[in-house]
């Protein structure tokens, strides 16, 4: 799960990680009030959306006067911000963060996350702050300092020092940096973060060290023990169909194609999308209805898939195994009637009683096309896409 910068900064503050003074605002009036309260100019006005690259897209601007606060906030609030992470459709800005402007001497990069291949927490730090870290890693990997922490041993003082000296920090800044590293480590573990990133971490001309930006992502599997993080969820930042699907415990991701598909199991669902593409069509979605694939799941799956107006046909691929295909087929027929499916549906299924299942589908009188195997299913679906 993702949260906004201002929310991440709330958590930073809770853990004693220094941040610029600031306030979130939903309207121009609130932005003006926030600037007055800060009592300083210039202020920085930052669009709050769940995507990076906001500055380049025009979502982060300086306001030098009280009048500018109103005009800048007015121009950012309500704008559709397009960045390299939002896709061409962009994202509507509904709130901004108003922060004190700082005199910056140097920008650094600092992040930490669980590393899947070593099973450790990895810190990454770089003097090349403010840049895309992937780009730094690709072009100048020697500029990134990495420290791996065994979670059973915990973060040791020498590890934090390695980061500090790797960043060539001056002695007065080292003193500020070390406790910050420890605080971030605690924050990451306490909250089951899948990423904590500060880009840039800044040294100001008056020798302070602050997180100018803050990004936190969380492990969805751990949200059951973080009710406070769940309260940060912003449904406006998610695709409405995906939100709807999540209510039914369906794993749905919207894509740009016109062949909907419904599959049990994530790996098979990805492979099915790939097959649609290889057959010359484009998948409209990813949808995993779970290993069980009950009639209710199929019905909800149909509703979600068909809410996408681009969908011209649907491919259902269920590898039942233990699941009985006659029961599944009955479920598909009932769901199709109930939902009123208008587009052709190709069904490929395997499992116990598969012949009885196919018979039920063929004799239903509905536009249900039975496929013999995966290849056959792909051909049948491609024919629909071309029609």
């Amino acid at each position: 799960m993702k949260i906004h910068e201002y929310q991440a900064k709330e958590l930073f503050q809770k853990y004693g990680v220094p941040i610029p003074r600031g306030r979130v605002a939903f309207t121009v009036e609130e932005a003006q009030a926030a600037a007055r309260e800060l009592g300083t100019l210039p202020v920085v006005i930052k669009a709050q959306i769940h995507a990076g690259g906001r500055g380049k897209g025009g979502g982060v601007k300086l306001a030098k006067t009280a009048e500018e606060v109103a005009s800048v906030a007015g121009s950012i609030l309500g704008m559709t911000l397009v960045t390299h992470q939002t896709g061409p459709e962009g994202r509507l800005v509904r709130k901004v963060l108003v922060e004190e402007g700082l005199d910056i001497e140097k920008e650094l990069y600092l992040s930490l996350l669980p590393d899947r291949s070593t099973a450790k927490i990895v810190f990454m730090a770089s003097e090349a702050g403010g840049m895309d870290i992937e780009e730094v890693a690709a072009k100048t990997p020697e500029k990134i300092v990495k420290v791996y922490v065994d979670p059973l041993v915990g973060l040791q003082p020498f590890m934090a020092r390695k980061l500090a000296y790797g960043l060539n920090l001056a002695p007065d800044i080292v003193k500020l940096f070390l406790p910050m590293v420890h605080a971030l480590y605690r924050l990451c573990l306490d909250y089951d973060a899948s990423l904590v990133e500060i880009n840039p971490l800044v040294i100001t001309k008056d020798r302070r060290l602050l997180a100018l930006d803050a990004k936190m992502n969380f492990d969805d599997n751990a949200l059951f023990r973080h009710k406070d993080v769940l309260a940060y969820r912003d449904l406006d930042e998610e695709d409405p169909l995906e939100v709807e699907a999540s209510k039914y415990n369906l794993n749905y991701i919207k894509m740009d194609g016109n062949i909907g598909n419904m599959v049990n199991g994530a790996g098979l669902a990805m492979a099915t999308m790939d097959i649609i593409k290889l057959a010359g069509a484009e998948p409209a979605n990813f949808l995993d209805v779970g290993g069980g694939a009950s009639a209710e799941m199929v019905e909800n799956g149909f509703r979600i898939i068909l809410s996408d107006p681009n969908v011209k046909g649907v491919l259902i691929n269920i590898f039942g195994g233990i699941l009985r295909c006659d029961v599944l087929a009955q479920g598909v027929v009932e769901a199709s009637r109930k939902v009123g499916v208008k587009v052709p549906v190709v069904i490929r299924m395997e499992g116990t009683n598969v012949e009885q299942g196919r018979k039920i589908l063929e004799e239903s009188g509905l536009n249900l096309i039975v496929a013999q195997d995966l290849k056959d299913a792909a051909h049948k679906v491609a024919a629909i896409a071309k029609a």
Partner: protein, 292 residues
């Protein structure tokens, strides 16, 4: 022969009295697996279909000689269940549970290093040696005893692969689901090494998906160490970056973890890569013709 589980394996089930635990225990027993014990804290002394239930894994191991555990414990308590099985010296710990927090798995993974236990999963269908022993939730009848080893990060996708092999008359030595989580116990390389060392396994099918670099590392291992032919498949060619595709571990971060990158690494390692899943069985038939 086979790897890790066979007809002699004595299985205990952690979470045996839950709905899933009961259902799949019965399926395993019906397949012929020797399920000797169950563990549910607070239900020690009861039985489930004549299988004795114990309060702790240690008691269950002591009383029944179980050397393999199958875990159905819900995510908040699953890491604890794995650590308990490790503590009791269980040789193979098969964790079916989906949804264990990554931080919990980091601790488990690091604790495993000092132990003699092997963890399979989590978030996996389990392990099966066809005709001998099924420790997991996979449908038994699609399998056929034989000499092709299967290793996969997925569940139903593995069933699809196994089904196609069986339809081609190709039997399996052992099929291992290593799970779809970013941090798991046994990895591709562990399985590949075991298959290479197993005299009865003649060839291997490896099923990967987007996310992480396990397939690339496995490809390097294969190039250096495997003499047996390997056929590979990677799901997720059409997956968009930055999205978690069902499995917690199936996510392309930036430019790393793409199916294209994995396929390229596997091809370079001399692996026969199948791009269209529908053709996997037929490709295996051809690729393995000289060794089967």
């Amino acid at each position: 022969m086979s790897i890790w589980v066979n007809a002699q394996t004595r299985v205990l089930v952690q979470g045996i009295t839950g709905r899933e635990g009961q259902f799949h225990t019965r399926q395993c027993v019906a397949y012929g697996t020797r399920v000797v014990a169950g563990v549910t804290p607070g239900k020690g002394g009861q039985t489930m279909d004549d299988i004795p239930v114990f309060n702790t894994v240690e008691e269950a191991v002591r009383a029944t000689g179980a050397d393999c555990s199958m875990i159905f414990v819900p995510p908040p308590f699953a890491a604890d269940a794995i650590l308990e099985a490790m503590d009791a010296g269980v040789r193979v710990i098969v964790t079916i549970t989906e949804g264990i927090p990554v931080m919990d798995m980091l601790k488990v993974k690091n604790a495993l290093k000092g132990s003699s236990s092997r963890l399979i999963g989590p978030n996996c269908p389990g392990i099966i040696t066809p005709g001998q022993c099924k420790v997991g939730i996979m449908p038994g009848p699609i399998h056929k005893p034989g000499s092709v080893g299967v290793v996969s990060r997925s569940g139903t996708l593995t069933y699809e692969v196994v089904h196609q092999l069986t339809l081609q008359g190709i039997g399996q030595s052992t099929c291992v689901g290593i799970g779809g989580d970013p941090v798991n116990g046994t990895n591709f390389i562990d399985c590949l090494r075991a298959f290479q060392d197993d005299p009865e396994t003649k060839a291997v099918v490896m099923v990967g998906e987007i996310g992480g670099s396990a397939e690339e590392e496995a490809a390097e291992f294969i190039a250096r160490n495997m003499t047996k032919p390997v056929v590979g498949f990677v799901a997720g060619l059409t997956a968009p970056p930055g999205r978690r595709m069902g499995h917690a571990g199936a996510i392309i971060s930036g430019s790393s973890g793409t199916a294209q990158g994995k396929i390229q690494a596997m091809k370079q390692a001399g692996i026969t890569v199948v791009e269209n899943l529908g053709e996997l069985g037929a490709v295996c038939k051809e690729a393995f013709a000289s060794v089967l």
